[in-house]
Symmetry: C2
Subunit: 469 residues, 2 copies
């Protein structure tokens, strides 16, 4: 690519080509997956470009379009599937400098896409408000990266998933054309770019709802049986009157082995529910827990300040932070993403746990899904071979639990295993040359691809880069 | 009763024995039911006593206990089943003077039991908070009366019913003994007095959660078919990301005939969904509505101020306000209270509507119930005879829709048709002489009563008073 030509066109915009820094900003948490680690380890961009305004984004996209250089957007690079990795090299468009929180009103905020979620709350909290939903990477992830690459997380037990109507209000998006357009998307149009990995537009501004910022309490509850823990978590999820942010179940021995700073609180063999509940709902939640046979292991509101400061917030033991803590102790761990569909979620997750024994450590995250409470799973798997990993996923699907494969870098393979016609149509319009985050949308790269053939999509551009490396 | 003796003991506490005022404060909205109108029309107390503090309540109960005079608590008398009517005469304990809002904190408030719900919000709103759940009698009902006599209402689509854990935090209750005790109830103990019609203790103080006070918008949406209206309401109820307070369906011709101030907005034959949605979620809700074939009839946020001032808030067309508006136009209307159990609520409510044709005008209120979205019904019935009313209820139950009979003044017949062992046990402890609101708890009056025999309980004390009258 004509990187020097590009630099010349971008006078006044911050760029970086130091090899170490470029390598660093060309990766995310893809290494959670041994498969992606093998496939993507060599991936590296040519230049980091860090715009600080919408006008600068427009200039970058126009220049890269003219020179035919791919552009891969990046928030803060906490994605898990190589989503923000530039498979064909080119520009890594670092949006973390576009981080202004523009307005906070009752029930909503407007921020630039690169704003870190925790920083949005710093502005909202003095108004007793906070973001309704966030990944467990709250402290580091950008709000634009969450919308482009995430799916839900803390808050989803109350508000459902990011995809659900009402969870994003408005997005501003810049297209990759000779004359980039700035579009405002609302309503159904949000689906064009939400969870599209930045393949069809650069999000520059986000408007999302805010919820009430209560004092929240972390509850850790121990159970002798995994199924009873799951059944309680489900009941708590369905307890409509109890204001809550998160309900997770982590099977033994993960809490004892991987939650290093919490080990003193856990007894061997206990399956642990980590719940985040409004302070005024703690009594109601504990009352329910006692009836279901739980042992109260820890409640954050009763800790001495000194003790509390030593512990991470409860949500940083949930979602993909559970996996992260496991990986830090045991690098041979990997994970899956599973849906246990309503209404069989409790029994099904317990049968699957039993089916695999020690090879899989269960981890459930309860959410609202189409108006019902059910759970996702992020089970930890003791990795042996890629073949066995495939087999484990096959068994899940055969038992009735769909997999969202976190060992694939394409939208389709990680998601619904079919073309998203809306996103594809928008890419044709907004990125006619296919320069945005190449290789991530199979429907664009290979319209005749057969998702049912059982193979793995291999992006040609990636293969070419790999042979160069 | 020795009313003069009682008055002497209550020096310094406000009492009233003007016959007109006593009659007025001895009734509620029992006349919604032709059956209750026939049974209770003559009911009247002997004296109104209006304490303004917990100490005064203690004094009243001690004195009435000593003299064996029944005490029937009353908030503001908006109940529908003669709940606050003194079936054996005696004291009407008017709690509306105990109306102080004591504290408002993030997520909760404490108020005296007689505080009108709208007045609590006047204190909470400057903190961007409001009560999470209220009856449609928001502007007039007391919070203590809601807890002792209500079941849910506006807000229940998000927070479930009053009975659900977390919807009441704490109650202060005074017992009816020689030395009345003041108890603090939390957790499971709340069920002892919640929805017990004041038969086993006088609530003096209430602590309940608050939710965020958004700018709310009323949406009126028209549908050609009742089933499609119900299906949309269900979808909106299940739309987890859309912040909302109420979702009601009112079948034609009720909106056109009974919503006098809204008639200009409705076309003949339209079945109307009245939804109350946060302003920032209106777009998402309307987008869903358009896909489901709705016609937008009215959105309150787009009305000119002058226009808006002419209309009641949307929630005052829902719950038992729908019935009230019908009764004002057509006094021959009465109503039922129905549960359409998940997951068949939409089909079942439509089949029942079809089964009865013109005799019944459907009215659904969507709620969360045990974690799932389903609906209650408050159908309007063109009354002919009490026998036919019984038949209509029987047909509902045979079709799978349980009835909470609003034509009965006892707890059991209006509710679960069985003894509530917890409330009975607490009455034995807190009101050993059975002086609190006599005649409302069958389990107390006639422990061997057979709920399955198909009869109607007739309180002996009521019969005796009637013969005097
Ligand atoms: C420990 C851990 C825990 C996690 N927990 C969760 C969780 O609970 N829920 C969840 O959903 N995810 C979770 N994730 C994944 C990830 O953290 C989130 O999705 C996060 O919100 C991504 O934000 P980011 O700024 O890091 O995005 P990045 O990783 O930088 O980018 C994510 C994707 O979005 C694209 N993108 C970024 N910014 C823009 C933009 N402005 N315009 C267009 N496209 C853009 C990128 O190209 C990439 O495809 C977790 C990851 C880790 C490592
Ligand atoms: C138009 C209309 C709409 C309505 N909509 C709803 C609705 O949406 N949801 C709903 O649940 N109800 C509804 N109701 C019923 C009623 O309005 C509510 O239940 C209301 O909250 C009752 O409050 P109140 O102060 O009027 O109670 P009252 O009618 O005065 O009393 C209700 C019961 O509680 C007892 N009581 C009152 N105060 C105390 C106390 N401090 N301690 C102990 N016992 C006490 C009384 O003895 C009586 O048994 C409606 C009624 C009408 C007429």
């Amino acid at each position: 690519y004509d990187i020097d030509g590009l630099k010349a066109k971008l006078a006044g915009i911050k760029t970086e080509d130091n090899a170490n820094l470029v390598r660093q900003k060309s990766r995310d948490f893809y290494w959670y997956s041994p498969t992606l680690k093998r496939q993507l380890d060599h991936v590296v961009g040519d230049l980091i470009v860090s715009p600080v305004s919408e006008q600068e984004v427009v200039r970058v996209l126009a220049a890269a379009h003219e020179l035919g250089i791919p552009v891969t957007p990046r928030g803060t690079g906490t994605g898990n599937y190589g989503q923000a990795m530039p498979l064909s090299g080119g520009v890594v468009l670092d949006l973390s400098g576009m981080n202004k929180v523009l307005t906070v009103q009752p029930g909503r905020f407007v921020a630039e896409a690169g704003a870190v979620i925790a920083d949005i709350d710093k502005v909202a909290r003095p108004q007793a408000q906070e973001i309704r939903m966030h990944p467990s990477t709250y402290a580091t992830a950008s709000v634009g990266g969450f919308i482009a690459g995430g799916s839900g997380g803390v808050g989803s037990i109350t508000w459902g998933g990011l995809r659900d109507a009402g969870n994003v209000i408005r997005l501003k998006v810049v297209t990759m054309e000779a004359k980039p357009r700035v579009l405002e998307l609302t309503g159904d149009d949000l689906a064009k770019v939400a969870h599209a990995y930045g393949t069809n537009g650069i999000i520059t501004e986000v408007e999302m709802p805010l919820g009430p910022a209560y004092p929240w309490t972390d509850l850790f509850l121990g159970f002798d049986s995994f199924e009873r823990a799951a059944a309680f978590a489900n009941l708590l999820g369905e307890a409509d009157g109890i204001a809550k942010k998160n309900v997770a179940v982590i099977a033994a021995p993960a809490p004892q082995t991987y939650f290093l700073r919490h080990q003193d609180y856990m007894a061997p063999g206990q399956h642990v529910v980590v719940a985040v509940v409004a302070d005024f709902a703690v009594d109601a939640a504990l009352n329910l827990a006692a009836k279901e046979g739980a042992e109260l292991l820890l409640r954050s509101d009763k800790l001495a300040d000194e003790e509390r400061r030593k512990l991470p917030p409860g949500f940083e033991l949930t979602w993909n932070h559970t996996t992260l803590r496991a990986l830090r102790v045991d690098p041979a761990i990997t994970y899956l993403q599973v849906l246990y569909p309503f209404p069989d979620q409790v029994k099904l997750s317990a049968s699957i746990a039993e089916r695999f024994g020690d090879e899989l450590i269960s981890h459930l995250e309860f959410v609202r899904f189409d108006g019902k409470v059910t759970c996702f799973g992020l089970p930890m798997v003791r990795f042996t071979t890629e073949e066995r990993l495939e087999e484990i996923m096959k068994i899940h699907e055969d038992m009735g639990a769909p997999i969202f494969n976190p060992h694939r870098y394409t939208l389709e393979e990680g998601g619904m295993k079919q073309t998203d016609a809306v996103q594809l149509a928008f890419k044709k319009e907004a990125d006619p040359q296919g320069l945005l985050n190449p290789g991530k949308m199979i429907a664009w790269e290979d319209p005749s691809y057969d998702y049912n053939a059982g193979g793995t999509f291999l992006f040609k551009g990636l293969a070419a880069e790999a042979s160069k490396a």
